[in-house]
């Protein structure tokens, strides 16, 4: 069996995965997407049997996964999964279709329509880019002035992606949310991501949010597995909020980070991921 790891840079997660693969005796071929030259009309004959997709770029993820799936590799996560989760609008729609509680969301393509969506949602509401992570350009719109300012800035200075206006109901949460890790059929662990002075209203650990272990209740397990089931089985970080009406899923991360979640949970997340990759090569 042969294995690969697609990457843009060797992040702390990718380094942990390489170290864990070596411990498990797995030779993990490093596939740099920066150096990729994909002969997309000729399937590679000796492509790895299973590949962990860890590119930092959503766009590169789609192309490289398409190429290696065509070459017969089992890519984790699959192209279908990346399409379903990597664009927040797709994910919101699929979650709602599957009956998973998720915040009410609108997509609009002009400032005028975006403002209509804001008025329907009421204040505060949230605007996010449909692609990207780490709470980059995720803004809380507290009033009409804020909404008009953010939307006008995106219209004038933003890229085509930023002019897809993804507007979402703001969910009151108890100063924290939950990141649950799914590997195949199992919720292996979860953390609370707790807001701090540094992170403000956000909870992302990359923005200063604090990570603490979160017990996996039957309610949490059920909603997280239901959320992950909107697409192919794989490895996901499912983000959940505790609203006054119960748990609500707002995002599914298909290249989930985990560097800050190993210590608080005590779970060797990269070991579980590498073991899963091994299983996939045998299917």
């Amino acid at each position: 069996m042969s294995f690969g790891l697609i990457y843009t840079i060797i992040t702390p997660e990718n380094k942990l995965l390489l170290e864990e693969a070596a411990k498990q005796g797995m030779k993990l071929e490093r596939i740099s997407d920066s150096e990729a030259l994909l002969p997309i009309t000729q399937a590679q004959k000796d492509a790895p049997d299973a590949i962990l997709q860890r590119s930092s770029s959503f766009t590169r993820t789609l192309y490289t996964t398409m190429y290696y799936e065509n070459a017969g590799s089992r890519v984790v996560n699959s192209l279908a999964a990346q399409h379903s989760c990597g664009d927040k609008a797709y994910a919101s729609a699929l979650l709602a279709k599957a009956g998973v509680p998720t915040p009410r969301t609108y997509v609009a393509f002009t400032p005028e329509s975006a403002m209509k969506a804001v008025e329907k949602l009421g204040y505060p509401c949230v605007i996010k880019p449909t692609v990207g992570s780490w709470a980059r350009m995720v803004n809380k719109l507290n009033d009409r002035d804020a909404a008009e300012a953010v939307i006008e800035s995106r219209e004038v200075m933003g890229s085509a992606w930023q002019q897809i206006y993804y507007l979402q109901e703001h969910i009151e949460k108890p100063g924290r949310d939950i990141r649950a890790f799914v590997v195949g059929d199992e919720v292996i662990c979860a953390i609370y991501r707790i807001s701090t002075e540094k992170s403000g209203w956000l909870t992302n650990t990359g923005r200063g949010g604090k990570a603490e272990n979160c017990p996996i209740t039957s309610e949490l397990r059920e909603i997280v597995l239901k959320a992950a089931s909107i697409t192919d089985k794989g490895i996901y970080g499912v983000d959940v909020m505790e609203s006054k009406n119960g748990l609500v899923v707002h995002e599914i991360n298909h290249t989930t980070e985990f560097r800050n979640s190993i210590a608080p949970t005590g779970v060797n997340i990269p070991a579980k991921m590498i073991a899963y990759l091994k299983q996939q090569a045998k299917i």
Binding site: Y7, T8, I9, I10, T11, N14, K15, L18, R30, S32, S34, S56, S57, F58, T59, P129, V131, G132, S133, W134, R136, S159, W161, Q162, G237, N253, H254, T255, T256, E257
Partner: protein
């Protein structure tokens, strides 16, 4: 030792460093990508792009 492409300072590459890893120059603080280990070579790290994430 490798040379920082930004400030020409000398940077010691730690054991266990991987090609593709991002390190910081201790002199100027630049983020640098390790391009080679056999003959240590660094280049300015790529900027985070709009579609980068998890």
């Amino acid at each position: 030792m490798a040379e920082c492409p930004e400030c020409a300072g000398n940077i010691a590459i730690k054991d266990g460093t991987e090609v593709g890893e991002i390190i910081s120059c201790p002199d100027c603080g630049s983020k640098l990508e390790v391009r080679s280990l056999s003959q240590p070579q660094l280049q300015k790290a790529p900027q985070v792009q709009e579609d980068w994430g998890e």
